[in-house]
Subunit: 632 residues, 2 copies
Amino acid sequence: MPFGYVGKILHVDLTSGKIEVEQPPESFYRTYMGGSGLAMSYLLRMMPAGVDALGPENVLVLSVGVLTGAPISGLSRVMANAKSPLTGVIGDAQGGGFWPAELKFAGYDALVITGKAPKPVYLWIHDGEFELRDASHLWGRITGEAERMIREELADDRIQVLQVGPAGEKLARIACIINMSTRACGRTGMGAVMGSKNLKAVAVRGHARPDIHDRDKVRELARWGRENFEDSGVYSMSLHGTAAGIDNLQEIGGLPTRNWSSGVFEGWEKIWGQTITDTILKDRDTCYGCIVRCKRVVETKEPYEVDPLYGGPEYETVAAVGSYCCVDDLTAIAKANELCNKYGLDTISCGAAVAFAMDCYENGILTKEDTGGIDLCFGNAQAMVSMVEMIAKREGLGDLLGEGSYRAAQKIGRGAEDLAVHCKGQDFPAHVPQAKRSLALIYAVNPFGADHVSSDHDPSYEPTQDEDTLGRLSELGLIHPVHKHDFSPEKVRFALNTQYAFSALDCLGTCLFVWGPSWQLYDMNQLVEVIQGITGWRTSLYELIKVGQRRLNMMRAFNAREGITSADDVLPKKMFSVPLKGGATDGIAISEEKFLAARKLYYEMAGWDEEGVPTRGKLAELGLDWVADLLG
Amino acid sequence: MPFGYVGKILHVDLTSGKIEVEQPPESFYRTYMGGSGLAMSYLLRMMPAGVDALGPENVLVLSVGVLTGAPISGLSRVMANAKSPLTGVIGDAQGGGFWPAELKFAGYDALVITGKAPKPVYLWIHDGEFELRDASHLWGRITGEAERMIREELADDRIQVLQVGPAGEKLARIACIINMSTRACGRTGMGAVMGSKNLKAVAVRGHARPDIHDRDKVRELARWGRENFEDSGVYSMSLHGTAAGIDNLQEIGGLPTRNWSSGVFEGWEKIWGQTITDTILKDRDTCYGCIVRCKRVVETKEPYEVDPLYGGPEYETVAAVGSYCCVDDLTAIAKANELCNKYGLDTISCGAAVAFAMDCYENGILTKEDTGGIDLCFGNAQAMVSMVEMIAKREGLGDLLGEGSYRAAQKIGRGAEDLAVHCKGQDFPAHVPQAKRSLALIYAVNPFGADHVSSDHDPSYEPTQDEDTLGRLSELGLIHPVHKHDFSPEKVRFALNTQYAFSALDCLGTCLFVWGPSWQLYDMNQLVEVIQGITGWRTSLYELIKVGQRRLNMMRAFNAREGITSADDVLPKKMFSVPLKGGATDGIAISEEKFLAARKLYYEMAGWDEEGVPTRGKLAELGLDWVADLLG
């Protein structure tokens, strides 16, 4: 069996220290294609309902996909899945870097991690070998230090380290898992799960290379990518990072501002990608094999000293600690980003928690007594940075905010509940659902809470509503343009079908900036070609979308087993009752009636019952009869 | 707009004689891609429930697809759709030939025919022009004569004629529509619908050629086809016609014999394709642009004189008038085929009606008094030929049998009902469902009754269960082999997904011997490529399968409006209660309990309710909200 796509899976029981190697058949890989689809098959089989997300019974799967490690852009991503301590249901987070490819080169497609180590350990995997090593001396270290120490003690500078920072060790529910101290599996608190298992890090090094079925085909696709890169939708990210598009978001009223009270931010020009390039940019960084180089490396001295080891802020970070909080100081934003990466925090939920706290403060729900004397008003950059540091270290109010804004609001009470902007306990990412209406639906129904990379964004609202984008979307059968502010059946189709596509991306572990159904460098048909080229499978977009459907339906089944119903597939009341202020979305609120009708239609389109639970027929259609049996 | 795929549709009101040209937008063609998908969109919109299938309110659509007329094998097919006088629900039949390509060359993709002409007419379409012409002199003529007369009076030997024979004129419910006097749109009585409208024929001639988007790509696919033809699954049909596979059917107990009492026929070697080649074959014939040449031309003098103008028997004909009736005389079979083609009868339903009558006769339900003195016992070749002629001319018992075995059985009574082997009133085609278990399901649930070309045949029972076939099926996500005698979820998936694929073929108007998901010359991914090459659309197998789903769901919606429920999606009792005799299927009956469970699962997989009616969500997912509105 070619190493390229049929590899090995490592089962690690941290309680006993026992590690076993599994070699699943090719059909297993073909069914799930890797990533979080593969992970769900383990989580569903290995975990009963009702498990404590921070207990040893939780199962954490770290996985790559059948394409990972091939020498072409956008294929080096790691997926983290477990029951989420943030949402109480399924957790899911993805990150890029060199670690994913290196895991493949070391011989493994996934790590299935159970139990809890008696004391801090790290897992060392190299060229097929593996061992658990003591991590007592690494515990409490910030990420850059821990990475350096592991490389030093194993005497190999090219070791890749995926780890939790101090925030994950301290079980902050918004803690991330991070590799290269810059590439975060950010969302749903996967860092807290890893921390709860006393697993500080997974260090990997390998010298094998995937056995690619049709090297010429893959080379040809790589060449095509190089030749078409500068004309593609991702090129602006190469120039100015993921914050390159802030101008457009500002224009459409889609830049979340003042804890989601507005879709426009007057300081937007001070924080957008072009300004990063012009002021604090030191270098551009990339993931394994990728020509895009969207990652930023920034360095500042005054007023905040930012270490370039921790990269630079993504768009989501710029918005969360910037516009959410009305902070327009790019050095403060860069500092908050550095702190999150050092301590291992999800920048989105962290920034959202600060913005939530600011809203509470402005409304008198929190006072200086609560904040430890900090004047936590919107726009106070210093206050934002201090609060991020307190969250990272779980100090003072930061200890509470590290639980995420939803739990913090429950604890604070006094109306704070209405100020937390989340779905299923996970804070909104930086795209205003009033401006991108399909996201209003997807935020609500996505199994792991509000997420911006689980479906495509309404193209009518993007600068990319050109013929090429519409042509690409038509590969998914989406041949009619969608209109911006409606919940039409066409919009629901758009949401569901692009959700299937993105779900497939998260099985394959492809980067949604490089491969995807609309403005990306490569389209979905090219993704099918690269799967064919690497694996030799006679696959198609039809089969690939089924892979995406499998992952989504397994996640819904996981949640159903935990008791989730349609009552959990909702938006915060604020979205319906408080119109946005200013800009193109001034005065706009979402119609709850139309939202509920769209959700009903979405469930039916997806083959789910009126509570959003997959029917036996839908599961059987996907070859998931065994999942239907689990649901009873 | 390129002529190649966005053409014109002719609306013909026979009552008033008014003809109008419609030019739908490109999105219409992309949604349905032509053929019976396109037809269903008209039938649903133009016809209310409860219409008399033989009345002027019935709408008959004759259509080709977006690929028709391109110079590559297997793309010249015409689809006929209307409410069926045989089944009382949706009707559907397809045929090959040169007529389909010629209609495209004359400038049209479809004819939507309504009303009833005051006297017999024929429609003459040439290079965009059209007229209704008197057909009084053609009425009553056999097909070969009418074709010759039309060519003579229009003074062009290359005119293609699609017509009904005398059987259609006389409203036999098993009458076909035929072109070249050899290519039948055979099933569901479409010939009776055309006859009921006093429309004798549609004559076409055109000199335009499709504007192909990417000629090089299409040429390359054509070249690939020529180079791989001899190694392909269709090559045996080139050598020995569609009856080439009788040896395999005999081996697996899948050759319907003695009115479905057995799956083996001791005279099989006398009637199979190899014997046709060795004895009565005069020539091989083909459809427009096709290298396969599967069509037979036979000539016999003794004991039956058969005119080669009417081609030669297909496998289905060989079985229906042969093994169904225990007739092993190839010249009698060829004669029956010639009679059916001359008079315009569906050979399957005609042969099945004779076999049914023989069964009645053997059981004493019919006597010589009923048969006009004919000794209608199994194996009597002369009796079979005489009965076919009586059906063709609607004489004696033949008048009743021309209504189809189901209606004949109702009329005859006295237990005859148990001897008619049909679903929804349409006789079984020549594949034993006990041997090909997925067909047991598809026969029952197919919207237009028992059909063998609405899904793939279980590969575990075919000689083609090789790696290549399994690899091709995997394009549809069917990665696990299915086992022969079960109704497993995997089998239901196989049935449904190949049904989607075949449904797409019937929108495109592709030949299932040349393009398809298993043993055909070209696979489904190549079909996607040829659509891309001809139309320029960035389509995918995902979109194509949705096109197939659209057609199937529109047909189900049509039937639901007519009051069809799960009680109509059944098999004849005989399948459950009377085991087959002899050969590999000796002693085998179908488990009704397992069949019902499989049907339930099939409905759920398809997104239909427990009565088999598409849900609003399923229809909306396919962009068919308007169909959901029709269902209320």
